[in-house]
């Protein structure tokens, strides 16, 4: 056979490896979407239909009553008000926690990387060590400490706990981001007369917008999905959505309403899911920026 004279773009070839790769990707996609699919269809079925046991079949007719029940009528023990209050509790916990932890972490990272106070590396090392120790170890001393200062079982208490536990990761990410900022930028601003806070707000924070977005999303998802800390520290009136979801799903009285459970679960997962869908582009960009520079 005459050999081809190479000219222009190299022709692409379909190899066995490539086909294998696509098959693997397809299987991976199914692995992650099938449970979601099952949850969605189950939530739209009536209990009679669910009892038929065909979990992959589409509902015979769309029935949204499970969703309304999950939102406003599902029972936790003897109280039947749905997961609604948990949703608002979660927002009330998550939004201030994210805002505070991102702000404090950004200031930490900025100070540790660009001002290097005496003992900065020791401080940073301790903070990282704190991030590596499992939460469970802190629980009891933390409960005692919060009770002592009168913040146990309160909204402020759970927010404070989330901010403290979020700081190591947030500080680490911001520190690594700011380390790549040339030191001379800070020096130039000091010659221009700007102080610590002015440099932070007018120069560094605007540079770090991609990181702020990424960290906010990480923190939002982490805090929204938290169960343990919310259960222990939030108190009866502030239980987050995850804890209430557990209470609904694990209620042992009467019939197990799978459709309501599924709907409540999807509702709980909806917020982080929406955040990733709406800001995926930012997320990738911020992570990439951090990876390239840091």
């Amino acid at each position: 056979m005459a050999r081809l004279h190479p000219n222009g773009p190299k022709p692409t070839q379909i190899t066995a490896g490539r086909i294998g790769l696509y098959v693997f990707l397809l299987v991976a996609v199914l692995f992650f979407t099938l449970p979601l699919y099952t949850m969605v269809v189950t939530s739209l079925k009536t209990m009679d239909e669910i009892r038929l046991g065909q979990i992959f079949s589409l509902p015979s007719k769309l029935d949204f009553s499970a969703w309304t029940t999950a939102w406003s009528g599902a029972c936790m023990g003897t109280v039947c008000v749905g997961i609604r209050s948990g949703f608002w509790n979660s927002l009330a916990i998550t939004i201030p926690s994210v805002a505070l932890s991102v702000f404090v972490g950004a200031v930490n990272g900025y100070a540790l990387s660009l001002w290097r106070p005496r003992g900065a590396s020791v401080l940073f090392g301790l903070l990282m060590a704190g991030g590596l120790i499992p939460y469970q170890i802190f629980l009891y001393p933390m409960v005692r400490a919060m009770a002592t200062v009168g913040l146990y079982n309160s909204l402020a208490g759970i927010i404070l706990v989330h901010v403290i536990f979020g700081l190591p990761l947030v500080t680490l990410l911001f520190r690594n981001y700011f380390v790549s900022v040339p030191e001379e930028l800070c020096k130039a601003a000091r010659v221009d007369g700007a102080g610590f806070w002015r440099i932070f707000f007018e120069i560094m924070l605007p540079i770090a917008v991609p990181m702020v977005v990424v960290v906010s999303m990480l923190q939002f998802t982490g805090i929204w999905n938290d169960f343990l800390l919310g259960l222990v520290f939030a108190g009866r009136d502030n239980l987050p959505m995850t804890v209430q979801l557990n209470n609904i799903v694990n209620t042992t009285m009467g019939e197990r309403t799978y459709n309501v459970n599924m709907a409540a679960t999807i509702l709980t997962a909806l917020v982080p899911l929406a955040i990733y869908f709406l800001s995926g582009r930012w997320f990738v960009r911020g992570i990439a920026a951090g990876a390239v520079k840091g």
């Binding site: 020096k187 010659v191 221009d192 007369g193 700007a194 007018e202």
Partner: protein, 360 residues
Amino acid sequence: MQSAVSIKDLKIAYGDNTVIEKMSLDIAPKEFLVLLGPSGCGKSTLLNAIAGLQDITSGEIWISDKNVTWEEPKDRGIGMVFQSYALYPRMSVRKNLSFGLRVAGLPKAEIEARVARTAALLHLDKLLDRRPAELSGGQRQRVAIGRALVRQVDVFLFDEPLSNLDAKLRNELRVEIKKLHQSLGNTMIYVTHDQVEALTLADRIAIMRDGVIQQLASPSEIYHRPANLFVAGFIGAPAMNFIEGRIETANGSPTFQSNELSFDLSGYGFKTPPVSGQATLGFRPDHLVLDGAASGLPTIPGRISVVEPMGSEAVLWFDWAKQTLSLRLMGDVTLLPGDALSPGLDISKASLFGADGSRL
């Protein structure tokens, strides 16, 4: 003497590592002083100390006859230009220029007037609304210079401002900086490792090594009468040629003797009366005359190994006694590698260094 910047017994050290050793330096008003030296010689550290961005171990820094040793950078009456431009990335050129003035709380009209004047001076008028990312390297550095100018201070500090630019832009901006100095008449302290920048810009050059000033003199003095071997070898491209040997004063008039050569030193301007001993003879490639026999000068016979034509001039590298020496010629050369030559050396332009490396 009134001085713009005065450094008194300055010492900077990190633990046992001394970066600047007991330095004293007076810079006159309107002077253009260049701090020149290899990487790690402490020149940038010194500049940062003058700016107030670097903690010092001991000593004093005076600017405009005021002791500013404990002052914040903004209160020292300085403007500074950095190698990496250090422009605020999220601000327009206009905002970059006006940042310091806004921090200082100047009235709006005053800020606008100053920004407009500076922009006109540096040809930045059309770029005022652009972001730094939308500017070329040369434009960015002009903005950085503008940010120092707009502060209307007496002393400008430049920290290797041209090192990030390509050769052509570097030449253009070098001329612009010189023009600026001539028209503004401010005191400028300029750090660089580029000897061309130092020689072309400076009124005086301070050559530093290991935190110590080796020689502080005019560019011409430093080029023609280097104070020691380090300065002699650092300044000049191609580097100065060195021949090891001895000075003999036995027969009345001093001579320089190496294994192959003997030069009469009566034409050399000794700082102190010559004594016999180890010495190094240094001479620049441009201090050799191609046709030594015709000139009547003592000659160094050799054989050409490499010819480097550079248009207006050419450098000949020739082998002599296991060493390679260089010779600079103006114009075109017809000589080829392998040709013999016997250049003459004008001893009055050469430099002699004693065993300790300092000039004789």
